[in-house]
Amino acid sequence: MRPIVFRTLRREYRLHAPPEIRQQLLFMETTPTISGVELEIVDIEARLRDGFVVATLPGGRLIEGSANNLLSALHQLVMQDLIDTEPGAPFVHGATVVVDDRRLLMVAQKGSGKSTLALHLAMQGHQVEGDEHLVIREREVVARPRTLRVKPGTLSLVAGLPPSVWDAPFIANWDDSPIRAVSPAIGGQDWVIRSGRLSGIVFLVANHGGRSAARRIAAEDAFRRLMRNVLLPSAGVAMAAGRLRQLAATTPAYRLLLGNLDVAEWHLRSIAGLLT
């Protein structure tokens, strides 16, 4: 049976799991092409013992419990991998999408519709690189590999989704509703993550059921908004914050009132058309 593959910016983890828990663990699957990087392969063996899932993670941590316990530990593993790979880098919470050859970071608070818009853009043929964090390196940025995490309400908002989206692996939310892991390749394009320059920053503000509208904002405003949506490292905080300020000072920023998805896409294309 093929392993469940999930990639970080430096590793490809291959999780070997028995059929009884495989479907649940497929939620981890994250298979973008990480451009220009030779990934280190790391195998993880999960097995069942007396009804419990047992796995030893890289570094020697032993997990014993349910499949959910293992999922939780694997999420921690992936996050720690990112922190170790990118020491000193701030991670901005947002989706990264390439619209008309311009890389845009869409920053949003939870519930603002970021993943819904990212899914819509993927279905319209735009390249979604990631939906959770953008790593701010000294001279470039790179998206954290992660699938779109989609709630049932989102699926009803995005047109043209293939029926297979309803079969995407899921975990249960606090109210028992499914949160599905949907690949950015759902629209038919390859999922490729490249490091490079950020062309623009778009701060999403929810306007559910309303119209979408965009306007340019000042660098100072952009910096304040970035600081509200950033994960700073535990060491070198001032350096990381400085990197963020530099990004805000040199990258055009916009505020997008997010309502109608087609109109939001039109605004993003208009913004991309203004950027170099």
């Binding site: 001032a238 350096m239 914050a241």
Partner: protein, 99 residues
């Protein structure tokens, strides 16, 4: 607002990280887990606080550095007060050599 006298001196608190950026500096206060941004003028004032200068000397330095006709007393004292209130510097006893 902190009471700033001309002879008051200041000392930056320990345990801060500073990173210069093109338009000022980012300061991280580890004990409060807070990040501050200082614009170029505030940065000059902050750095002079670490050089054992008193408030009057800082005003005179800023006036000369920016080519001002008179010492920017109010602006510098507001800035010093903010630095004290934000916990980036502490005010020390006035120095005896102050005017």
């Amino acid at each position: 607002m902190a009471d700033i006298l001309p002879a008051t001196t200041f000392r930056p608190i320990d345990g801060m990280e500073m990173n210069r950026v093109p338009d000022g500096a980012m300061i991280y206060q580890a004990n409060q887990e807070r990040v501050h941004f200082l614009n170029p003028t505030a940065l000059v004032v902050f750095e002079l606080c670490g050089m054992d200068k008193n408030a009057a000397e800082i005003e005179a330095f800023v006036a000369e550095a920016f080519g001002l006709a008179s010492a920017p007393t109010e602006v510098v004292r507001d800035c010093l007060s903010s630095l004290v209130e934000e916990g980036l510097v502490v005010a020390c006893a006035p120095s005896s050599s102050a005017p």
